[in-house]
Structure formats: C-alpha cells, structure tokens
C-alpha cells in the first residue's frame, strides 16, 4: 500500500501532505491513480482535475502519467518544479 505525497499548491488544495492509498487492482498507472485519488474529496478533485498541470514521481523518480505504479512504495504529485 503506497504512501501518497503532495507538494506545493497540490498539497494546499488537498489539505494534506501525505496519506496512504489502497487503489483497486485496475489502477496500474500514475494517471489512473490520480484519477482515482480525485474522488476522495472536493480538494482532491480540484487539485487533480487538470493533469496537464500536475507532475509526479514514483519512488522519488520523475514519472509520466502512463508510468506503472506496480510495487511502488511512494508516489508523489506536485506542480511543475520552480527551483533554482
């Protein structure tokens, strides 16, 4: 059961930085997980409505929406990065 992390305005909108998730078996990709998480609350829905504005990491590596989440321990959703 992977840990889900949120950063920056994704976290602000969802209202939590970390939660656990036990998605159904047919949720196998990052994008499918986001869509499934969007049903959890109004905040989740608002934050994850437009996935073009969202980036993700699977086990601390950047991952596309079609990346597999199989066996993942930690999946993070966040806005495009703005460091430096």
């Amino acid at each position: 059961m992977p840990t889900i992390l949120y950063f920056a305005w994704v976290r602000d909108m969802i209202g939590t930085a970390e939660e656990s998730a036990d998605p159904p078996a047919d949720v196998t990709t990052v994008g499918a997980l986001a869509a499934w998480l969007a049903g959890r609350s109004e905040g989740h829905r608002a934050a994850l409505a437009d996935l073009t504005r969202i980036r993700a990491a699977v086990d601390q590596q950047f991952a596309d929406l079609d990346a597999s989440i199989e066996g993942a321990r930690e999946i993070a959703f966040f806005p495009p990065v703005t460091g430096g």
Binding site: A8, Q60, A76, F78, P80, V81, G83
Partner: protein, 151 residues
Amino acid sequence: MITVAVQQAPFSVEDALAPLEALGGGAVASFVGLVRSDGGIEALTLEHYPGMTEVALRRLAEEAVARWSLIGATVIHRVGELRLGERIVLVATCAPHRRDALDACAYLIDRLKTDAPFWKRETRGGDGRWVEARASDDAAAARWSQPSPQS
C-alpha cells in the same frame, strides 16, 4: 568530487568554492541565484521533496561530471524562508579547461530548474502565491538534450 547540499542555512561562496579550487583543475566556474525583487517580491519560501531532491541533484552533478570530464561539481540549494537579496542556489564546477567548467556550470543550473523537486512561493504585499513554472526554463534545459548544443 561531487558535493550536494540542501539546507536552510546561508552559505559562503568562498567556502563552497575552496574544495573545488583545491582539486588542482585550474578552472572553476560558478553560478549564484539570488532572491530578486521582481515587481515587489518581499520574500520567497522554498519547498522541496526531502530525499528525492538530494538524489536528483546528485544525478545531475554526476551527468555533468561525466559529460564534461569534470574534476568536481558542487550544488547547494537553500530551502525555507528567504529574504530579498539572499542566495538561493549555487552551482560550481571544476575542470582542467575553462570551456568544460563554464558549459557544465550552465548545464547544471539549467537542468536544476526543471529536474529537481523544488517549489517557490513568493510573498508580495503580505500575500503568498506559488510561482508558475516557465516555458523558457524548459527550453533552456532542452537545449542540452540536443547533440553538441554548444558547437
């Protein structure tokens, strides 16, 4: 020699460069990014993804070292609350040839902007707002993916 640090505390450029200068490469290039006022910014808050950040920065440094045969590379990035004029980031490289040090330094800051999990929140007139990513940063990072972009 690769040094990566993600820290709240300020850093000294002199102290950051000294270990690179001591490597005997002869050429040390560096870049410092600072909080600038840009239409009334009073402060920046830098958030990051602990654990992933350090790994991402180290990977970028390793890529730079391999691509330009660097002797050393250093990346220091601050997180937390930063005031106007404070240093946010330093990247520095050491090589036997200045062109390698300079190109690798530009590469590191360009790639850091798009490939390391940091997020800036700026405060203006007391109000906070998350900074939007810029297409120009994606373009700057992308130019390093083309073969021999500098020649």
